[in-house]
């Protein structure tokens, strides 16, 4: 089943063309590794897919749903739509970007809890068509006054959701092997542990596609192994993943398909054996020879 379809994606920063007509598709549970030298547009591609940057043109379709189409590119997405679209993707950053003031567990549950709150509020107090703070407060109090029990129900349902989120987070922590760090703060964790928590945080929202932006580049060499093991483990669970990486051995071992990017274009695409052992393009050959 095709989960991701990217067609003719383009992105420029001022006059610099960073992405030139990127097209590829992904199947569900496929692991795609993107390799290439720095400045080739790998990171920008991930950022465009996660709607951190807006593509200039092209089309992004996830699970049959068109998230981005250039015929509408002049139309500004409102924040609400953009958020929904972002939730199809998860992104693990090179520099982890954990929230330093929260514990491991809270880092993982925060976003789910906020979404739960929104969901419960909407189901109990009706939809907010206007999204101003004032109207939110108004509808909230209207609901509370109209039916005092509604507020109780709200609290109860929220507690139930929070509890479910917590259990899910604990299960994820178990999966990444950090059960003993539930209440630790990010500064108390090693880089590898922080990155594993960041992976769990992205997984908690159950994205269709999980993206990794050089997940081990900021780590000491002896810490990369534990992070790569977690990614490998996710593959066994059937996660669909795009991994931008400089770890060639890892790409060869884990990826189903490799994309080699050069100068904003997909220079070569194929199975690891094809790309690594018998590359067609001269540039691919030169790049791989360096490793």
């Amino acid at each position: 089943m095709t989960i991701l379809e990217v067609t003719d994606l383009k992105k420029s920063f001022d006059t610099l063309e960073v992405l030139k007509d990127i097209s590829f598709t992904m199947q569900k549970s496929e692991v795609l590794a993107i390799i290439g030298s720095s400045g080739s547009g790998k990171t920008t591609l991930l950022r465009v897919l996660n709607f951190l940057e807006k593509a200039d043109s092209g089309k992004i379709v996830v699970a049959g749903k068109t998230l981005y189409d250039c015929s509408n590119c002049s139309i500004q997405d409102n924040e609400q739509d953009l958020r929904k679209k972002r939730l199809h993707f998860g992104l693990v950053f090179q520099s982890f970007n954990l929230f330093p003031q929260y514990t491991t567990l809270r880092n993982i549950t925060l976003a789910s809890d906020l979404l739960s709150k929104e969901r419960v509020k909407q189901s109990l107090f009706g939809k907010d068509t206007k999204k101003t703070v004032g109207s939110k407060i108004k509808s909230f109090f209207k609901g509370a006054i109209a039916a005092p029990n509604l507020f109780k129900k709200y609290r109860a349902e929220l507690a139930k959701e929070y509890d479910a989120n917590r259990k899910k987070a604990l299960a994820l922590l178990d999966r990444i092997g950090l059960t003993d760090k539930v209440d630790a703060y990010p500064f108390q964790l090693s880089g590898g542990q922080q990155q594993r928590v960041a992976i769990a945080r992205a997984l908690a929202l159950e994205p269709d596609i999980l993206c990794f932006d050089e997940p081990t580049s900021a780590l000491d060499p002896e810490l990369t192994g534990e992070v790569l093991r977690v990614i490998k483990d996710l593959k066994d669970y059937g996660a669909t993943m795009i991994v931008v990486t400089h770890e060639m051995e890892f790409a060869r071992e884990v990826a189903d398909r490799i994309i080699f990017m050069h100068d904003g274009k997909i220079e070569e695409m194929g199975t690891p054996t094809q790309v690594f052992d018998s590359p067609k393009s001269l540039k691919t050959k030169q790049f791989i020879a360096k490793y």
Binding site: N50, R83, L98, P100, Q101, Y185
Partner: protein, 214 residues
């Protein structure tokens, strides 16, 4: 005048000083945040306007601002601010909000882009990112400069004397002038000293509390 009477008078003066101090903080701390949003706005006219206002307020003496707030309405429109407290408070709140806004701006701009992006890819709204992620980190970072400003405010309240607002220094000076005794001035100094000492302890306590993460 007995020591007891002097103490009673000074305590009363300190009461008005304290009231001005507390009300100024309560109003200027949140107002400063709003001003900082203005000075970081992507809408250029608003940013320009806010930054000019901050420039004017920070670039002129607070004493002058107090005088203007107190006398200008009467001279310009014939309406006088009936209460000296109101005039002093308005001047102090505007002045301190501008100083606080610059501290907030520095703090907010020091938070890495990665924190915002992490919130974005997790589907959070701008408001959620600001209030759940950024603000708390900002508070931790600006605690030291804020405590600096707060302690300065304790002593700046004495400037309200220029419009005959009955704060501590004015009360002390009136005793000195009326009874020919000098010690109430030093006595008043002790009030400031003790109070700012207490604030220093309070702030180091808060900073220690916020030190649970790095």
């Amino acid at each position: 005048m007995t020591f007891l009477q002097v103490s009673k008078d000074l305590l009363e003066g300190f009461g008005t000083t304290l009231l001005l101090f507390i009300l100024t903080l309560i109003l200027s701390l949140p107002l400063g945040l709003i001003v900082s949003f203005g000075s970081m706005s992507k809408f250029k006219p608003l940013r320009w306007l806010t930054r000019s206002m901050v420039w004017v307020i920070r670039g002129t003496p607070l004493m002058l601002q107090i005088i203007i707030v107190f006398y200008a309405p009467g001279l310009l429109f014939g309406v006088t601010l009936s209460k000296r407290m109101t005039a002093a408070l308005i001047a102090f709140v505007i002045n301190y909000a501008c100083y606080f806004s610059e501290i907030y701006r520095g703090g907010i701009e020091s938070i890495s882009k990665g924190q915002y992006e992490a919130g974005q890819v997790l589907g959070m709204t701008k408001g959620q990112i600001f209030f759940k992620i950024v603000l708390f980190q900002v508070i931790k970072r600006i605690m030291a400069p804020i405590s600096n400003e707060v302690i300065t405010l304790v002593k700046d309240t004495a400037l309200a004397r220029v419009i005959a607002f009955p704060e501590l220094i004015m009360v002390a000076y009136n005793i000195v002038a009326g009874y020919g005794i000098l010690y109430p001035l030093f006595y008043a100094g002790v009030f400031y000293l003790v109070f700012s000492g207490l604030l220093t302890i309070l702030f180091s306590h808060i900073e220690a509390k916020l030190d649970y993460y790095r």
